[in-house]
């Protein structure tokens, strides 16, 4: 019997991407996607269910569809995308409901995979050059997103202890770049001058969007449990990242950096999330040995991810957006999927 997977955040970039990848996996029988908004990419066999942001109907879906794997991709990791309240509701309350549903009476769930972020480590002057999965951050989190992620991971640790029969996997992703995803660092690199904080040149690490999806499929496939860092090989200074994209730097003042970034936001140049300000001072490197030792191979290093991202930007600047915009039409989808009139080649 194949796997029956529930994907949270189907309408978000990651949910959609992961569902798309699962559709091509013959060992996956059923894919149910949950979100408050409709999916933005064309999916063939994924079933979309509309839910509220903290998944109150989850237990029923899990039971009804005999879900065995929950893929929790819907955690906010960028505070420019949601306000504090939404971040808390989605990340903390959403995850708690998800975990409750996964262990409700009659639940068939045996593994939970969560897409977290290396933001849980923070970025501080006293940090080591490389964070391993067992290290704790050196100061309490300062932004709502970081705080909620740290809380979520705490709940997941307890959850894994309380239900040893379940496989709980947490993947901590570093800064993502890629042709399709929009990220604050990606946007910063597209500006004519790339913002930096004067006098600092932090070490940053990047992971390609394909490697994010591949690593999720990898842990799903191998049934590995535990916490894993996922990031491209190598760190490099932010100034070099800008140079790789052929850009010069715009130094922001080291004192009053917050006001300077607010100004950037007001003139609509760039909305830098609070999490990235510390990162632009002290940077962060994470050790990816644990997942590698299990046999996971990256397609892109940190430099590779930047290069691939930049190739796609150059292409986009010349020929415009390539990806056809897709609008989810419920009636049309239902027709194609369920109408006896549609001839399906099996």
């Amino acid at each position: 019997m194949g796997r029956r997977v529930l994907v949270t955040g189907l309408g978000s970039f990651w949910g959609g991407r992961v569902a798309l990848a699962l559709e091509n996996d013959p060992t996956v029988d059923v894919i149910v996607g949950l979100d408050t908004v409709e999916p933005s990419i064309e999916l063939e066999r994924t079933e979309f269910v509309r839910a509220d942001e903290n998944y109150s109907i989850l237990a029923r879906i899990v039971h009804a569809a005999r879900i065995d794997t929950v893929l929790h991709t819907f955690l906010h990791v960028d505070s420019t995308r949601a306000n504090q309240r939404t971040v808390h509701e989605t990340n903390v309350i959403g995850t708690l409901n998800l975990l409750a549903a996964a262990t409700a009476a009659g639940s068939t769930v045996r593994s939970v995979i969560v897409k977290s972020s290396t933001l849980v480590y923070g970025s501080n002057p006293q940090d080591p050059a490389w964070f391993t999965e067992d290290m704790r951050r050196s100061t309490p989190p300062r932004t709502a997103v970081e705080r909620s992620l740290v809380e979520v991971e705490g709940y997941l640790r307890d959850f894994a202890n309380d239900y040893p029969e379940l496989s709980v996997t947490v993947l901590r992703f570093s800064n993502v770049l890629g042709p399709d995803i929009t990220t604050p660092f990606g946007q910063a690199l597209e500006l004519p001058l790339v913002p930096t904080i004067f006098g600092y040149d932090p070490h940053l690490q990047f992971v390609h969007e394909n490697d994010v999806v591949r690593s999720i499929l990898f842990v799903l496939d191998r049934d590995v449990r535990g916490v894993f860092n996922v990031a491209g090989e190598g760190v490099l200074p932010w100034s070099e990242v800008a140079r790789l994209c052929g850009k010069r730097l715009l130094p922001l003042p080291p004192v009053g950096t917050g006001s300077a970034t607010r100004l950037l936001k007001v003139i609509r140049a760039l909305d830098l999330p609070g999490e990235s300000l510390e990162l632009l001072r002290y940077g962060r490197g994470v050790d990816t040995g644990r997942l590698r030792r299990l046999g996971f191979q990256y397609e892109f290093s940190s430099v590779g991810a930047i290069e691939d991202y930049w190739r796609s930007v150059r292409l986009r600047q010349t020929v415009g957006e390539i990806h056809r915009a897709y609008r989810y039409e419920r009636d049309v989808e239902t027709f194609f999927r369920h109408s006896p009139a549609v001839v399906r080649d099996e």
Partner: protein
């Protein structure tokens, strides 16, 4: 015909004295030469060129017992002095020049917080003193690592307390060496204390500026603001002591605290005695 065996990357690094990049970072596509520790060989070359006259002409550094340094990795431990420490660059530059081996100086993360200074400090070779950084450098990359267990307590002490060693923290350096399975090599340094004597400190100013201490140095009185970077021409003498090997298995989660403290204290006492010996032989602060 020489063998076509592909040369191992680490081997090749060792041949051309490139810094070891781990965890196995491929540097294809890189534009700069900044390694995972923030070092840049280009910057370091410049710094070495600028610093060499200070080392040779100003401090006229003399080494004793350099041959005692083991060929493999080791944790170098020395006494710490001068308001803006002059001993770290002397030891790092000295071993790099005399033996051609890079030394990774661990220092308080305080430097990293300063704009410009922090970046230059790390490009030139400073690494934040974190146990995991030390472990990677010693155990995985088999380098020489330098620490000053007295920390800012050594450099913030007044001139009247010169050459009296402060406590060696909680002996964390011994634990690091044990875990990494490397010997500790103590080094006694004479000269740093007189290169920038601290007359007094101003604690309220230190608190205000967030500094570990705010010194009033003889150099400041003599040279004004330039005294922050101008050292007095004290004669430097360094003595490398016998390596201390700990007969314990590496990679243990923890080591007996009492043993760690005991080893740290005995290393401290050894350096202290050697310092007294060196000072008793010294004819002049300026000429040795």
């Amino acid at each position: 015909m020489p063998s076509e065996r592909p040369v191992d990357l680490n081997e090749r690094r060792a041949l051309v004295h490139l810094p070891n990049l781990s965890p196995g970072a491929p540097d294809d596509g890189r534009l700069g030469d900044v390694d995972e520790w923030g070092r840049s060989e280009r910057v370091r070359q410049q710094v070495r060129r600028l610093y060499d006259p200070v080392y040779r002409k100003l401090f006229r550094v003399e080494w004793e017992g350099l041959e005692k340094l083991p060929p493999g990795p080791a944790l170098l431990v020395a006494n710490h002095a001068a308001a803006i420490p002059s001993d770290a660059p002397v030891i790092m530059h000295g071993i790099e020049e005399e033996l051609g081996r890079p030394v990774y100086g661990l220092a308080d993360h305080f430097f990293r917080q300063l704009p410009v200074v922090g970046t230059l400090w790390s490009r030139a070779g400073g690494v934040v003193a974190h146990p995991d950084n030390a472990y990677r450098l010693l155990r995985e990359q088999r380098q020489l690592v330098l620490v000053f267990p007295e920390g800012t307590k050594g450099t913030g002490k007044p001139y009247s307390q010169r050459y009296r060693l402060r406590r060696f923290g909680r002996g964390g350096f011994v634990e690091i060496a044990m875990r990494a399975g490397v010997p500790v090599v103590p080094i006694a340094v004479v000269g740093a204390e007189e290169s920038m004597p601290t007359l007094t400190t101003v604690p309220p100013l230190a608190r205000l500026l967030g500094l570990p201490y705010f010194p009033i140095t003889a150099n400041m009185l003599l040279f004004g603001p330039a005294g922050l970077i101008l050292y007095l021409p004290a004669k430097f003498k360094l003595r490398v002591l016998d390596p201390v090997y700990f007969d314990v298995p590496p990679d243990q989660p923890r080591y007996p605290r009492s043993r760690v403290m005991e080893e740290a204290e005995s290393i401290r006492q050894n350096i202290q005695e050697q310092l007294y010996d060196m000072l008793s032989r010294r004819q002049s602060v300026w000429f040795g």
